[in-house]
Symmetry: C2
DNA sequence: TAAGTGTATTAACATATATAATACACTATA
DNA sequence: TATAGTGTATTATATATGTTAATACACTTA
């Protein structure tokens, strides 16, 4: 699996999920983990498309998603930058964590595991 | 959201996910939770299709998926039945739980949460 | 003015999902 | 034996989604 480093973000695309979703996830993840500074210039749509070997439209769609959620800001003619507001990142990180917990809980309860059993399983799980 | 009860299984389909996937999940969930006995006759392809208001092909696809994983057995001309082997159910339940845990762990670590933080969040989470 | 930004539009294509219609093979039973 | 009810298979069609491609336009900087 080919891995691309750019602007402090590691991109790795696989064909099992939509490319634009993976780009969104990986930019968002880098921001949530504090691996990218605020107000940093992102690679241009065309540049990232070329690096990732996808169509510029696919990158644009990802950037627009990220802008809609406030993680990126774009200036026509200048480029796309990471947000200036740490609180945006914190809020979205919290939202995504809540969502992951909700979905995980639903999946486990659908399989008939109690909350206690889930806690026990999580404790022994190797956390990657 | 309309809810259909048949053969001890509750079906509830929403249009945001493939119907055949939801049918598979809900049959599998009922088996995993022990809500359906072994060797029980399932509704026929046509009957379930009519109840759920989907095409018979869609139900057939779900039944075939479930048969491939060993949870259902079909006899041409007679019908489709739940497996005779409790171990099949146990194994698949375990596989699905492992998968859910892996994916949840990946999502949370991608957001920069440590294992300890995840455990703490899970403890306070309301488990539905 | 030129080059590099983001943006918009339209077309084309592949794939997945779902429906529809039809036919066939097998089993149980009246 | 005939019939009805099983699962199964095939083909066609429609729709939505994801992706690529080509092109054009607006804005900013140098």
């Amino acid at each position: 699996m080919e891995s691309i480093q750019v602007a402090g973000i590691t991109f790795k695309l696989d064909p099992t999920k939509p490319f634009y979703e993976q780009i969104v996830e990986q930019v968002r993840g880098a921001l949530a983990r504090g691996e990218v500074a605020l107000e940093v210039r992102m690679p241009s749509v065309r540049e990232l498309a070329q690096l990732l070997k996808v169509n510029p439209n696919t990158v644009m769609r990802a950037y627009q998603d990220l802008e809609r959620s406030g993680l990126l800001v774009t200036y026509r003619g200048q480029g796309t930058f990471t947000t200036t507001k740490q609180e945006f990142i914190d809020n979205i990180r919290q939202e995504l964590a809540d969502k992951a917990i909700r979905e995980f809980s639903k999946a486990m309860s659908q399989l008939g595991f109690t909350h206690e059993q889930v806690l026990a399983l999580m404790e022994e799980a190797d956390y990657q």
